[in-house]
């Protein structure tokens, strides 16, 4: 279990985050609020007691040096994917484990308290006990999120959601801080066979995240045909296998924001409930597991695929996902159409559809979380172009015009 901090009279420490994007800030804010009972609060750099630096951000060394000059007394925690020079400051390696972060903060707190160095008056920017709406909220609650334009090639609404940095590192807790703009106008999309060292960039392990725990709980619920409770560093969750629903006490937005946080198995308990035991009627909300898990997987994967996925193995979908209701993934309809028509590998998909792999990977991860992916032995006649496909070639121009017309809102 998490180290618990029960002292209600403790002064909240103010934390400034440097080199972190909005998503990382949201994740940490939730962490401080939910697990640290607001013992720590995000604050303006000028008013902070502690600074946390993402050393994988652009110009991280430089801003760290500048900060040390400006606030020579202020304790710092450095986080990075790789070991780095931390001259006395606390260092945490990504993905950050909540316990480690908490221990580091507690240690600093003890030192600060001993030295009476807590700045006394400066105001904090978040009132205690009130968690501001994270920006993810707006996108998080709609269940009918399909936007017909999502499949169109041009507007990339989901870019934020889906784009990991392929050439750089993928940073599970603090993603995308130094993402380069995607190069446009590339004629050909090929999934490169990554060098061993870089493989981690597009792989993630669902088991380390809320996604994996929910999948595990669902599996148990199905096997035992009983409601299953899932406890961890979040408010209670109950899986209802009979109706294929999930009951959550926490707001969906908070749970989706938790998706990027690595969670230790010791912090999680999955227990079947007595038969007939139902979630409380007051509070919480129920939604179809499929909708929740799909979205959670997209949020967790962020353009990556689960470790162990074979890029060259032919796959297909058991059936079409309910794409009118599931969170849209760019090019999702095209990918689903291809994966229900013939077995193809992820690499071939990128070539056939000529789209960036990150969309294919997101779709794969979400469909895989729902159990829709089948690995297939390729049979010989899959090579033949289908009769239908040939016949349709002459209509391609027409189809394109229909699509264009459907997407032109009147």
């Amino acid at each position: 279990m998490m180290p618990s901090i029960d002292n209600h009279y403790r002064k909240p420490l103010r934390i400034s985050l440097i080199g972190m994007d909005q998503r990382a800030r949201d994740a940490l804010q939730l962490f401080f609020h939910n697990l640290c009972h607001d013992d720590y609060l995000l604050a303006d750099d000028s008013a902070a007691d502690i600074s946390i630096f993402d050393m994988d951000a652009l110009h991280a060394q430089k801003s760290r040096a500048e900060h040390s000059q400006k606030h020579p007394q202020r304790p710092a925690i450095l986080v990075s994917l790789l070991e780095c020079e931390h001259d006395g400051a606390a260092f945490l390696k990504k993905p950050i484990q909540p316990q480690e972060l908490l221990s580091a903060l507690e240690k600093i707190r003890r030192e600060l308290t001993a030295g009476e160095r807590i700045a006394a008056t400066a105001p904090v920017d978040e009132p205690k006990g009130k968690l501001p709406r994270p920006p993810v909220l707006d996108m998080a609650v709609s269940t009918t999120g399909y936007d017909a334009n999502e499949d169109a090639a041009a507007p990339e609404k989901q870019e934020e959601e889906l784009a990991p940095n392929y050439s750089g590192e993928i940073i599970p807790l603090f993603p995308d801080t130094h993402r380069k703009e995607e190069q446009s106008g590339q004629p050909e999309v090929v999934v490169p066979e990554p060098p061993q060292k870089e493989k981690a960039a597009f792989l993630y392990n669902p088991e380390s995240y809320l996604q994996g725990y929910i999948q595990k709980a669902c599996q148990l619920a199905r096997q035992q045909n009983r409601n299953v409770s899932l406890l961890g560093p979040w408010r209670p969750i109950i899986i209802l296998p009979e109706t294929r629903e999930i009951w959550v006490e926490q707001s969906h937005a908070h749970l989706y924001a938790l998706s990027v946080m690595a969670i230790q198995p010791e912090d999680v308990t999955i227990t079947p409930l007595e038969s007939g035991e139902m979630p409380p009627e007051e509070g919480g909300s129920i939604l179809p597991i499929e909708l929740f898990l799909w979205k959670l997987a997209v949020r967790t994967a962020r353009g990556r695929i689960p470790v162990g996925t074979d890029l060259r193995a032919p796959i297909h979908l058991t059936h079409w996902p309910n794409l009118s209701r599931l969170m849209p993934i760019h090019h999702g309809l095209r990918i689903a159409a291809l994966w229900t028509s013939q077995p193809v590998s992820l690499m071939e998909t990128a070539t056939i559809l000529n789209i960036p792999p990150k969309y294919i990977f997101s779709f794969y991860s979400a469909a895989n979380a729902l159990g829709l992916i089948v690995h297939e032995k390729r049979s010989n006649d899959d090579d033949r172009p289908s009769r239908q496909a040939n016949q349709q070639q002459e209509h391609i121009g027409l189809f394109r015009k229909i699509l264009a017309r459907l997407r032109k809102r009147t």
């Binding site: 059936h319 159409a337 056939i352």
Partner: protein, 181 residues
């Protein structure tokens, strides 16, 4: 007849065919609804007795005609004529009906040769009023009929639901279809 293409909407009484065509048609659909009599009376007030018609004007002067079959089975002699030259079939199923699977198999059988030579996409409507059967149960039924087709929850009153369904049909016909920017 080269620039004359058809998309066919079918399904049982009250599944939302007229409404779906209305949702994407350029022009208000011509519908030949009549006050319902006999068997449909307690389901809804009007029913389509001949067929629905709508259209989408495409770039380059072409036109996509949208046809809806009448919901009542006694008019099914028209279906053969209707599907001629069709690019694909949209089947709408009303989830509140007594036996939606029976409805589905009825339409799959009736349109089998058309489906085999083109493609099919299925929208299950009225799921807000009745959540079961669930989509995975429809998929089981489809798989026993040897079909793996787009099947979505659709509210025919929502244009974007209808658009997703039609797009899924188009991509099924040609997954490598590119979207011009």
């Amino acid at each position: 007849m080269d620039n004359n293409y058809k998309l066919i909407f079918t399904g049982p009484v009250g599944a939302g065919k007229t409404t779906a065509i209305q949702a994407i048609s350029d022009t208000p659909p011509v519908t030949t609804d009549a006050i319902a009599t006999d068997m449909t009376q307690n389901i809804k007030e009007t029913t389509t007795v001949a067929m629905d018609y709508g259209s989408m004007q495409l770039e380059g002067g072409e036109c996509l005609h949208l046809y809806g079959t009448p919901g009542q089975e006694r008019f099914n002699f028209m279906w053969e004529i209707l599907t001629k030259g069709g690019i694909g079939l949209i089947l709408l199923l009303d989830n509140t009906r007594a036996d939606p699977f029976q409805d589905m198999h009825f339409f799959l059988n009736s349109f089998r040769s058309f489906i085999d030579s083109t493609h099919l996409a299925i929208g299950v409507t009225q799921t807000d009023r009745c959540a079961t059967p669930r989509l995975d149960q429809y998929h089981e039924q489809l798989s026993s009929a040897g079909l793996k087709v787009p099947l979505f929850e659709v509210d025919a009153r929502q244009r974007r639901d209808v658009v997703v369904l039609v797009e899924a049909l188009l991509f099924s016909l040609a997954p490598d279809l590119k979207v011009s920017a």
